[in-house]
């Protein structure tokens, strides 16, 4: 049966005609149209928007949207080895429970007097990340790891007063694309190649390019291709010798087992918190962190909000507020540091919940387990005739490159064959890293059992025969 007109919308309390009439009377208008008197006729949309017919009830809406979502096939229904910047880790139920609470989910930018909980939860997030990173200053999350790297490099340029940064060619193409976009036009980029044998930064090329113009050397550990940068100390030392900063991108879930970057010379550390208890959501789960030591010269260059702890009028009570707010674009518009806006605070809270659930031992165990599964799968795949793991001797964290050139198959063909057997293979690197030939970037997770890893190996063997 059609709804009676005019419709009273459940999301719009004052759509009740009598209420509207009463309010119009209160404002001295005959109709809502009068309230739009300031918008000239020439700017008005003629007619109504041409949109699909509405699905007014929840039942209709759910049926429609579910119908669309059911056309997706998720990683829970298949076996997935996709990583490359977005990771399928187990999300503890408590993470979802907390970030689904309306008090957090629907809040925004209130003061500490209304939103004490958000300030404390984000201060605690910063604090737990500080322990993970062994650094004293961590921001309220920015958008994602791309933004974190791009901002860390802009910070380095402001701190050093220089405007050239060195970026490795073993970083992901998408991240490079954003960093380049963000640094233009005033900051120049020089690429540093990686060693084709080890997959790690080419130190000789780095040293050739380091001079008094360089603001920062950026490198990753683990790298985009999953390798642990065993020369991290040397790279930082070389950067420092030239008066440049070492900016290091890390995967926070590795830090139970991998040394914090500050201990091998990093001045600014950045990365993405998606692995820490946040669903992949087709790329919707990213949040960026930036960390430094507690040096005002560094702190004053953050564009992000930094929530700090402070006393209140009452003894024994914790209060929170913005540290050095005057640096931000909220305070100074274009004279502030870059900009700050809505980014990924809820994921910061969630990552905090994750770290509290995991504790010190959990972070050690997950790191160890990921490295074990990764090495196991590498061994299995390396034993398959025709497959080559180009950086096999270098330590890996959770991802590795596997090359198919000797099989006569393209990476896309391999992925297609795996897909037909309900396996999402790895990220196809052939366009992104032509020098690696027909290769996949394969990623393991703690959700993978030995049987899952064996299944990938067996299936590959089968499809390559």
């Amino acid at each position: 049966m059609p709804y009676k007109k005019p419709l009273v919308y459940p999301y719009i309390p004052n759509s009740v005609p009598e209420v509207k009439a009463e309010m119009l009377k209160a404002v001295g208008a005959q109709s809502v149209e009068e309230l739009y008197a300031e918008i000239p006729e020439s700017l008005r949309l003629k007619g109504r928007l041409n949109l699909p017919d509405p699905l007014l009830s929840e039942a209709e809406l759910i049926r429609h949207v579910d119908g669309l979502l059911n056309k997706n096939c998720s990683g829970r229904e298949t076996l997935s080895f996709l990583g490359a910047g977005c990771y399928q880790h187990q999300v503890p139920a408590v993470c979802d429970e907390i970030n689904s609470r309306g008090e957090f989910l629907t809040a925004y930018a209130g003061d500490p007097y209304e939103d004490h909980g958000r300030f404390q939860a984000l201060f605690e997030y910063e604090s737990m990340m500080g322990e993970l990173l062994n650094m004293d200053v961590v921001n309220v999350p920015t958008y994602d790891g791309f933004q974190a790297a791009a901002t860390a490099l802009r910070m380095a340029c402001r701190i050093t007063g220089r405007n050239l940064v060195l970026l490795p060619t073993n970083m992901g193409a998408d991240k490079f694309s954003y960093v380049e976009l963000y640094l233009r036009p005033d900051i120049a980029i020089q690429r540093i190649p990686f060693d084709p044998q080890t997959g790690l930064l080419d130190i000789a090329a780095l040293e050739t390019n380091l001079d008094a113009q360089v603001a920062a050397v950026y490198f990753e550990n683990p790298t985009y291709l999953g390798l642990l940068e065993t020369q991290a100390n040397q790279i930082s030392a070389a950067a420092h010798a030239a008066g440049a900063l070492a900016v290091v991108g890390v995967n926070p879930i590795s830090l139970g087992v991998i040394r914090p970057a500050v201990e091998y010379g990093a001045d600014i550390v950045c990365g993405d918190i998606q692995p820490l208890g946040i669903h992949m959501s087709y790329g919707g789960g990213h949040g960026g962190f930036i960390a430094t030591n507690d040096d005002p010269k560094f702190v004053m260059e953050f564009p992000s909000r930094l929530f700090g702890i402070a006393p209140t009028a009452v003894e024994g009570e914790y209060g929170f507020g913005d540290v050095a707010y005057e640096r931000t674009s909220f305070a100074l518009r274009e004279k502030g540091k870059e900009w700050v806006g809505t980014a990924a605070a809820l994921w910061g809270i969630t990552a905090g919940v994750y770290l509290a659930l995991m504790g010190p031992q959990g972070m050690v165990e997950i790191g160890e387990g990921l490295m074990q599964r990764c090495r196991y799968l590498m061994q299995k795949l390396a034993a398959i005739p025709g497959l080559r793991l180009p950086f096999y001797e270098t330590p890996h964290f959770t991802e590795f490159v596997v090359n198919f050139d000797a099989t006569g198959r393209t990476a896309a063909q391999v992925n297609q064959a795996l897909l037909e057997r309900d396996i999402f293979g790895g990220k196809d690197l052939s366009a992104e890293f032509p020098s690696l030939g027909q290769s996949l970037l394969v990623c393991v997770s703690e959700v993978h059992t030995q049987a899952d890893l064996d299944r990938l190996a067996d299936t590959l063997q089968e499809v390559l025969q």
């Binding site: 999301y11 041409n50 997935s80 209304e114 961590v138 087709y282 919707g284 209140t312 050690v364």
Partner: protein, 521 residues
């Protein structure tokens, strides 16, 4: 039992006060909140412990000093903190002007929590994500209609990121015509969001900020005086944060176009305009919408949000990659866009916000969206009327004109007469379980207060908010101390802000706090 007396005046609110320790203080050695799947013995036998075998410079030797807590204690701690936070679900959230705090329907959250979305990896084969691609494609068609422009991307993370993306497309457009260097100025206005100016600056532009005339309007004449062959573009909100719609906007757009510049419409303030007027009608080349504002996706304590950048044919070649296309049979990601500015975020955008916004639009349709805007504007003008009945508050500029979806008010006279400032009122409002916001800086309107009632609040809600403001205004004259010593009913008491600006004292982490105060862990 005799009847219980009716409730008196403003609500006798008191916020939750759990007096909750910092999470590190809750640590109990040996506890943990989750267990991990054990690594199979055969794997261990085969590979040993590669982490333990790492060279010393790479191996962590001391585990991170995270708290050790059982699961219920983690849950309880955060559940308590959440109670000390005011979301839209709890309060009449009209005090955070410019933020468009509207109801985020629960059914949309439920849909966004489907594993059919949360467990999707962004690099899955297109064939396995047809549903999400179709939703994104449908959303593009919807936003083409809402904006009147040619193409749409949802890749930017939120409003400011979308502003930056639009400015990058503007820059790429001028560069493609060999005018990248020459056109090095972007014009904006003081009542446009700070990110318009700040993002333009990051993109390398000299920022020229126009101020309103005494009646609150940017006049085309002021713009004419500064536009030139150096102008890359204009980026502007309309209505601005004052809620005043500039009726001469098309003239300004024309002026910029005549000099070869382009015009970007920041539609963070679009909530009163759906189906009324669009970027296209005023001649804009691009616009951006914030999905977490106008399109109801939850604000999440400050993100994740969501955004739509809509562009005309001039800017479409420069859209971020990939776009979502449909070949008549299947949806697919198109990376083959040679003039693209590249990526503005990992992958394709905040998918759960795209889904929620889609569900919201589908639950309203064209008539419903117009109803959203009309009621938002009605609510705002009703609120304006009622607020102006409070003594000593004014709505500067555009006297006698209607406002669109928000108003920037001024307590200047009250401050002059009582010494009570808008920032002090802000703190006092917390005692009544509501938010309140002054303005972005600088305070062009003296002692500002910005209220945006959206369509989500009833007349009674608006009356309640006004009653609280009225009581506080009365207190300013009769008992200013109660304002100056507020909050009284909050989780906490007045914060001492000085340490937050003093490098010797500030502490962004617990470890820094322990170090600087000498407190024992």
């Amino acid at each position: 039992m005799k009847p219980i007396a009716p409730k008196p005046g403003p609500r006798r609110f008191h916020q939750a006060r759990w007096d909750e320790p910092i999470i590190f203080e809750l640590s109990q050695p040996g506890q943990h909140g989750v267990l991990l799947p054990a690594v199979e013995a055969e794997i261990e036998q085969q590979v040993g412990n590669p982490a333990g075998a790492l060279p010393e410079p790479l191996r962590r030797t001391v585990p991170p000093a995270l708290p050790e807590m059982s699961q219920i204690h983690v849950l309880r701690h955060y559940a308590r903190l959440s109670q000390e936070n005011l979301g839209v679900d709890l309060n009449i959230d009209i005090g955070q002007g410019t933020c468009t705090m509207k109801y985020s329907p629960k059914v949309n959250d439920q849909l966004a929590r489907s594993p059919k979305l949360t467990e999707l990896h962004p690099l899955q084969d297109d064939a396995t994500v047809q549903g999400m691609l179709e939703i994104t494609y449908r959303m593009e068609q919807i936003f083409k209609e809402i904006s009147g422009l040619e193409r749409v991307t949802f890749q930017p993370s939120a409003g400011s990121a979308a502003i930056f993306a639009n400015i990058c497309m503007l820059r790429a457009y001028h560069e493609s015509r060999g005018q990248g260097r020459q056109r090095n100025q972007v014009v904006t206005t003081i009542f446009s969001h700070p990110s318009n100016a700040a993002a333009a600056k990051v993109a390398g532009y000299e920022v020229i900020t126009l101020y309103p005339d005494e009646d609150g309007y940017i006049q085309p004449e002021a713009l004419r005086a500064i536009v030139s062959e150096r102008t890359a573009g204009l980026i502007i909100t309309n209505p601005e944060d004052t809620g005043i719609f500039n009726p001469r906007i098309a003239e300004m757009v024309d002026l910029v176009h005549q000099t070869g510049g382009l015009c970007i419409y920041d539609q963070a303030n679009a909530n009163g305009l759906l189906g009324i007027t669009r970027a296209r009608e005023a001649g804009f080349d691009a616009c951006q919408f914030n999905l977490h504002k106008t399109f109801s996706t939850p604000h999440g304590c400050g993100g994740p949000g969501g955004a739509a950048c809509c562009v005309n044919a001039k800017l479409a070649p420069f859209l971020p990659v990939p776009t979502v296309e449909f070949d008549g049979q299947k949806y697919y990601l198109d990376f083959d866009r040679p003039q693209s500015i590249g990526k503005v975020r990992p992958f394709y955008g905040v998918a759960q916000s795209i889904l929620r916004a889609y569900a919201w639009i589908m639950s309203l349709g064209a008539d419903g969206l117009r109803e959203v805007s009309e009621v938002a504007v009605l609510n705002n003008n009703y609120l304006l009327q009622k607020v102006l009945e409070i003594r000593r508050v004014s709505a500067p500029y555009a006297k006698g004109k209607r406002r669109i979806e928000q108003v920037r008010y001024s307590w200047e006279q009250l401050t002059r007469e009582t010494g009570v400032t808008s920032e002090e009122i802000e703190t006092r409002v917390a005692d009544f379980g509501m938010h309140y916001w002054t303005s972005h800086h600088p305070f062009v309107v003296p002692e500002p207060m910005t209220l945006e009632p959206t369509e989500s609040y009833s007349k009674a809600d608006l009356d309640e908010y006004v009653a609280v403001l009225r009581q506080i205004a009365d207190e300013a004259y009769t008992n200013p101390q109660i304002i100056k010593t507020a909050p009284h009913n909050s989780t906490i008491h007045r914060i001492q802000h000085e340490p937050l600006d003093n490098p010797a004292e500030w502490a962004v982490t617990w470890r820094a706090y322990l170090r600087k105060t000498g407190k024992k862990a």
